[in-house]
């Protein structure tokens, strides 16, 4: 079975998810790793035109693409152009005869589904769905020149976000690290920020914290603050009053760290740690660093 992997770069480096799916495709056998080149900025039409033309020659059965913002767009456009089956944001992919079995979340993370995507199919894959084997070789990437003649849009300009922190906006972050009164004071946020940096997470806070002026109001998560639904929500020293829960219970995975074993936050947590947050947090940040470095 012929598998395609369409990769994407950040700067000159391949994106992690691209390497993950390339490694996975290698396991599936007969993999070709492609990169659309010649585009200063991603735009769907020239990319799709080039890939679709190539697909007609190559006849791959399965196209894997990283579920990044442009990957999702390109995957959907390509599937539509070719009239193939499409499944997005896969957390696992297996091939079963003439179909791909794709694990993916549905209903905003409330349902885990396995879908059968009849081949040929395009599947976008979530970052982290496949672990990168230790010491995996850099895949050999074959360039596919974008078809500039297909472009109908004209790039005008780039407007950088005047972000003071350089962090992801709270409501769009896939990981949120939130602190509560249990952190005792604004000085503790150094530790929180360190974890957030490692995770590429946005910072959140309980109302008590923004009230006390430890953190700016924009970071408040809850009924009277922002409503968030990240893939991972880490609540540090937050007791879990309903006002806070109303803003974060839709998160896909909730981790709570609190020294009070009766704290309400544990009732909604997928993973709870009863511990002194000041002891636990540095240890956990180290572990996450290790995990990130290893993979």
């Amino acid at each position: 079975m012929k598998t395609w992997v369409v990769v994407e770069r950040k700067g000159s480096e391949l994106r992690r998810v691209s390497r993950e799916i390339a490694a996975k495709a290698a396991q599936l056998g007969d993999a070709t790793v492609l990169e659309v080149t010649g585009l200063e900025r991603y735009s769907p039409l020239p990319a799709v035109a080039a890939l679709a033309a190539r697909a007609k020659q190559d006849q791959p059965s399965l196209v894997l693409i990283g579920a990044t913002p442009s990957g999702r767009d390109l995957g959907a456009s390509l599937a539509a152009r070719l009239g193939w089956t499409y499944a997005s944001e896969a957390t696992d992919v297996a091939v079963d005869g003439d179909a791909a079995l794709v694990s993916r979340m549905m209903y905003a993370g409330k349902v885990r589904a396995t879908v059968q995507a009849k081949l040929p199919a395009v599947v976008s894959v979530r970052p982290g769905a496949f672990t990168l084997p230790g010491g995996a070789a850099e895949p050999t990437v074959e360039p596919v020149a974008a078809d500039a003649s297909a472009e109908k849009l004209a790039f005008q300009r780039f407007e950088p976000t005047a972000a003071a922190s350089g962090r992801v906006p709270l409501t769009e972050a896939s990981v949120v690290v939130s602190g509560g009164r249990g952190l005792r004071g604004p000085e503790s946020w150094k530790m929180v920020e360190e974890l957030a940096d490692v995770l590429g997470a946005a910072l959140g806070a309980s109302r008590a914290v923004t009230d006390a002026g430890w953190r700016p109001n924009e970071e408040q998560v809850g009924q009277t603050g922002k409503t968030v639904a990240p893939d991972l929500y880490i609540a540090l020293g937050i007791s879990g009053a309903i006002q806070h829960l109303a803003g974060m219970t839709s998160s896909k995975v909730i981790v709570a760290v609190n020294k009070d074993p009766d704290a309400d936050i544990f009732k909604v947590a997928d993973y709870g740690v009863v511990a002194d947050v000041f002891e636990f947090l540095p240890a956990f940040t180290d572990e996450v660093k290790k995990a990130k470095a290893a993979s």
Partner: protein, 671 residues
């Protein structure tokens, strides 16, 4: 005394009277026309209750003679009663001065005595009032020239009255058989007869001209309340305090709420004319006290000022709606959203102004007409619409708290006597679920037959109604009423005062009449009837501060039951959070939909409330006793107090609890 108005004098006086009263009437007519710009509202129900109010509140000055205000209230009451007596005398002076006739009874010795006594009492009151304005300058009071003018005029009236009486006695112009005014005659100034006559004549003229000037000035001034309080008290609402006004035929309307002075009712406009600018409402307001832009007095005065500004234009132009109230100032909407509907203002207003209705009517316009709602409020309104609870929690988890307790639903136990209407807070908030569990234990211990609606229960609608979405309230109320009807529910227990208030006081507006009790009322009754057995024995002394929830206390006058329920527990003593207790209780900050809105300006209301509780605790501690808990009877108060003690760092030693939890922890353990 024989008036000094022989010949041309009577004609001059008549002319003055025509000018003075003419000016009064002309202005009064204008004000009446502006008043009629307001929408119709029937305020003629409960006639005898209105008569009683008139006697108690207007004539009896009951709302001035209240705790904290007795001294000041008395000076006002004396001035007011004096005004009634002296006005009668003034009519007599004018009648006799112009037509040579007397008002009946004015010749009696009793009247002369009373008049004289009041003249002195009023003068003394005026001196005290002037002293308060000039020297004490209470912060609540809006001190302006107007007040001094009025005080000056009244003072001049009293002085001129006493002077002409005194001179009249000296001149010997008492009518035959007339009782001499006792107090005015005490001083002998040794006038010659001619001088006495001249002083009499001069003071007499000064007096009557001042009266007429007063009449002309009155409707230009906040002292119009002298005239408008009479109808304002009579037409005060006879709805229960906790009930907002119903918008009937809501499906058939095109405009909702107050988008113009025309949308305020004539009574709301009369309220605005009646405001005396005393500032008592402002002094009670938790929003103002914590630095919010809301000032209840300003809400009322803005209506008056805008009506006087726009009135002349609107009277002649039926299609002109003027500026919407919520847009009278750039900050107006924020003022309106700051209100917790705690009713501190309504409770304390001496002239029965209804502040909350105005604020809610303006919110109704913002919410229903403009869709201009604070983002967090919008979120909870949408959550009520879609999930049946303002926190947007999954509706099918509403009864999860009851599963392990085996609490039956009406579907399972259709013959239950009581419905326990749990409410959203106790259904979804984990802290308040413990209160629901406590109530279940109490009801079982007392063998009360009850059931819940389970997932068929939905938000009672109170937050929506107070956030100005009357339509959503009606939708929620009707849905609950249908479910009540399905199971034949007649008796309802609520542990949340907001559920209690809206079901007891507001559902009847839609035809839903039930026997509704708040859980603490029921507990008190069960203890009294001996049905609820409490553990007896050597319990250690425990001091518990009691925080009055607004919708239990001021809105429904349930002050004693929770205190008695706590007091019935061995060893428990209730500590009052004086002076902010009972009628003067200070809001937790969560009423009026504020539970779901962010407080962006000033201090948090709940933090201020905790400060008050802490200072009472410290006071008690200085006497060697320890207050370890603060009890209330409302889930929102509990959430707010929990947050407040945490923020103030006193969570460990001052634990917020619900009265029901305390009672449930002291149930007699059966052998």
């Amino acid at each position: 005394m024989i008036p000094p108005t022989s010949g041309i004098g009577a004609a001059v006086l008549a002319l003055f009277a025509i000018v003075g009263f003419g000016a009064f009437l002309w202005r009064a007519y204008q004000l009446y026309r502006y008043l009629r710009l307001g929408r119709n509202e029937d305020r003629t129900d409960h006639f005898w209750r209105r008569v009683r109010d008139e006697i108690v509140v207007y004539l009896g000055q009951r709302r001035l003679l209240t705790r904290r205000y007795y001294g000041r209230g008395l000076t006002h009451a004396l001035t007011f009663w004096g005004f009634l007596v002296i006005t009668y005398g003034t009519c007599d002076l004018l009648l006799s001065g112009i037509f040579g006739r007397r008002m009946p009874g004015t010749e009696s010795g009793v009247y002369v005595w009373i008049l004289d006594l009041f003249a002195v009492a009023v003068l003394a009151s005026i001196v005290i009032a002037a002293y308060r304005r000039l020297v004490i300058r209470p912060s609540r009071m809006h001190i302006a020239l107007d007040g001094y003018v009025i005080l000056g005029l009244i003072g001049l009236l009293m002085v001129s009255l006493l002077v002409f009486e005194n001179a009249g006695i000296a001149a010997g112009i008492l009518e035959p058989g007339q009782t001499p005014p006792p107090l005015a005659g005490l001083v002998h100034l040794g006038y010659s007869h001619d001088l006495a006559l001249a002083v009499f004549s001069g003071a007499w003229w000064v007096h009557v001209v001042t009266v007429l000037a007063f009449a002309a000035y009155l409707p230009q001034s906040k002292h119009l309340h002298i005239a408008t309080t009479l109808p304002n008290v009579f037409f005060r609402t006879q709805r229960p305090r906790g009930a907002l006004d119903l918008i009937d035929d809501i499906e058939g309307r095109e405009t909702f709420g107050a988008g113009s002075v025309r949308d305020l009712s004539w009574k709301q406009l009369l309220d605005a004319y009646t405001c005396t600018e005393c500032g008592r409402c402002s002094q009670q307001c938790p929003a103002l006290a914590t630095g919010k832009p809301l000032d209840p007095q300003k809400i009322v005065l803005d209506i008056r000022d805008q009506l006087l500004r726009e009135g002349p234009k609107l009277v002649g132009a039926p299609g002109d709606r003027g500026t919407p109230p919520a847009r009278w100032a750039p900050t107006k909407a924020e003022e309106l959203w700051s209100c917790t509907t705690c009713a501190g203002c309504v409770e304390v207003c001496p002239v029965t102004i209804e502040h909350i209705d105005k604020i809610v009517d303006m919110r109704r316009w913002l919410t229903m007409m403009e869709g201009d709602v604070p983002a967090e409020a919008q979120r909870s309104l949408t959550a009520i619409e879609r999930a049946g609870n303002p926190w947007g929690q999954p509706p099918d988890t509403r009864a999860d708290w009851a599963k392990d307790l085996g609490v039956p639903t009406f579907a399972e136990k259709p013959d239950a006597e009581y419905l326990y209407f749990v409410g959203c807070a106790a259904s979804f908030d984990r802290r308040n679920q413990k209160v629901a569990e406590a109530l279940v234990r109490i009801l079982r211990a007392a063998e009360v037959s009850f059931a819940i609606l389970g997932t068929e229960e939905t938000c009672n609608g109170d937050p929506a109604r107070r956030m100005g979405n009357e339509y959503l309230w009606q939708t929620q109320a009707r849905q609950n009423m249908e479910t009540f009807a399905k199971y034949g529910v007649r008796k309802v227990i609520a542990s949340c005062p907001h559920c209690f208030n809206t079901i007891a006081n507001e559902y009847p507006q839609l035809g839903g009449e039930y026997e509704v009790v708040h859980a603490v009322q029921l507990v008190r009754r069960l203890v009294n009837d001996g049905k609820l057995k409490l553990a007896r024995g050597a319990a250690p002394r425990e001091l518990v501060a009691y925080h009055d929830p607004c919708y239990l206390g001021r809105h429904n006058k349930i002050y004693d039951e929770p205190r008695e329920a706590l007091g019935a527990l061995d060893g428990v003593e209730v500590v009052e959070i004086a002076p902010h207790n009972r009628e003067r209780g200070f809001c937790c900050g969560a009423g009026g939909g504020r539970m779901w809105m962010e407080e962006k300006v000033g201090q948090r209301v709940n933090h201020k409330r905790v400060d008050q509780i802490v200072s009472v605790r410290d006071l008690v501690a200085s006497e060697g006793a320890k207050v370890s808990k603060v009890a209330s009877g409302c889930p929102f108060c509990l959430i707010m107090l929990d947050e407040g003690v945490g923020a103030k760092g006193v969570a460990e030693e001052l634990k917020p609890v619900d009265v029901l939890e305390m009672v449930a922890s002291r149930l007699e353990v059966s052998a």
